[in-house]
């Protein structure tokens, strides 16, 4: 009896499994690498990192915008909730959170905040972060990335906007 059709079918089936594993696993692998890079520079999880303006030398995250100033932190809500806070500058600004599979599960911008300061709690569940009088966002994964974006519309304003974005913070509650 010829066995090569069985071997061929087995190879194709196994190739399909590897294909699916790669497609599903790649986002997690790349996010894990990005989180490790941010956490190592920030001194750990739940701590903010204030990178300089993106240039050709920037190799942390692909396709950075040179027109924005970023504040980044790796959140970890597995033990306790994380408090995110920042002044809201008079320019385009947003606070966004990304799950370990890259999904952008929450974003708020300066026009939506309607205040000059924002405080938000990121928690594993609603109960864990309640009782503080601060809005609670439930994170779909225990670890992920928080990114604050501040647009620098002109060089005259860079210093002022840079100072404000350095007040953005991530800290365990």
């Amino acid at each position: 009896m010829k066995t090569w059709p069985i071997w061929l079918a087995g190879t194709i089936a196994l190739a399909a499994v590897f294909h699916i594993l790669t497609v599903f696993g790649l986002p997690y692998g790349i996010m894990n690498r990005a989180m490790a890079g941010i956490a190592s520079q920030a001194g750990g999880v739940n701590k903010p990192l204030y990178p300089e303006r993106a240039t050709a030398e920037s190799r942390g995250i692909v396709r950075p915008s040179p027109d924005l100033l970023y504040t980044a932190c790796v959140y970890d809500v597995s033990v306790q909730p994380v408090k995110l806070s920042s002044p809201v500058p008079d320019t385009y600004w947003s606070l966004s959170t990304f799950a370990s599979n890259t999904d952008n599960f929450f974003v708020v911008n300066d026009r939506e905040v309607k205040s000059n300061r924002i405080e938000i709690i990121l928690a594993a569940n609603e109960e864990a972060g309640s009782g503080q009088g601060i809005p609670v966002i439930v994170a779909p994964s225990s670890k992920g990335i928080v990114l604050f974006r501040s647009l620098v519309p002109s060089e005259d304003l860079r210093e002022e906007i840079d100072a404000k974005r350095r007040e953005a913070n991530c800290e365990p509650l």
């Binding site: 699916i20 790669t22 050709a56 947003s94 974003v107």
Partner: protein
């Protein structure tokens, strides 16, 4: 022994075929997308929790930490208006008018998805920085040779390719509803170095 060798060969071949085909599909088309406007491409689900596994993988490779389309629409162009790959040794004119968003920008990235090194640290132009024509339109010069204004250097390695990303921050509701109806900049090739 012979069976064990066969099994190892099957696993190796399957790994090369399976992982290789996945990486080809993911890496081969940038951010990809199901909406094309001229050479510009986007997807409605970039950054979204509704993204399919392939879009999610492409975002991880070519646009990690992208926002969802209610906040920002990202268009990417790897070709010019004639469908030819954007090459660092060529000069292009990117012409258009203000886009339907609170703020927009055009940024150049190399094949590795990072900003391209140049002596003037020029990487992008946006609604706040671009110098406009008398009628309010703009012309951005993309190429290896310095232009009088609105110049984004390509780095000038003639064999290299690059791509442009158009960001629309806080897009207008009509743009969010139907990104395919947005009048996007044209990308016309002018000259190429020999």
């Amino acid at each position: 022994m012979k069976l064990a060798l066969k099994l190892v060969a099957v696993v190796v071949v399957a790994l090369i075929l399976g992982a290789g085909s996945a990486l080809f599909v993911i890496r081969g088309f940038g951010l990809g997308g199901d909406i094309a406007v001229g050479p510009w491409v986007t997807s409605l689900t970039i950054g979204s929790t509704q993204a399919d596994p392939y879009t999610r993988a492409r975002v991880a490779v070519a646009g990690l930490l992208a926002l969802n389309r209610d906040e920002t629409i990202y268009f990417t162009a790897a070709d010019d208006d004639d469908g030819e790959a954007l090459r660092s040794g060529c000069t292009y004119k990117v012409t258009g008018s203000d886009l339907p968003a609170r703020w927009w920008s055009v940024t150049l990235y190399g094949e590795d998805h990072y900003l391209v090194s140049n002596p003037k640290n020029l990487y992008s132009y946006g609604g706040d920085s671009v110098v406009r024509e008398e009628d309010g339109s703009f012309v951005i010069s993309v190429g290896p040779e310095e232009a009088d204004r609105n110049w984004i250097p390509t780095g000038g390695q003639t064999g290299d390719t690059f791509s442009l990303t158009l960001r629309l921050y806080n897009p207008e509701p009509d743009a969010v509803r139907d990104p395919s109806a947005i009048a996007l900049p044209r990308i016309a090739k002018e000259t190429c170095q020999s």
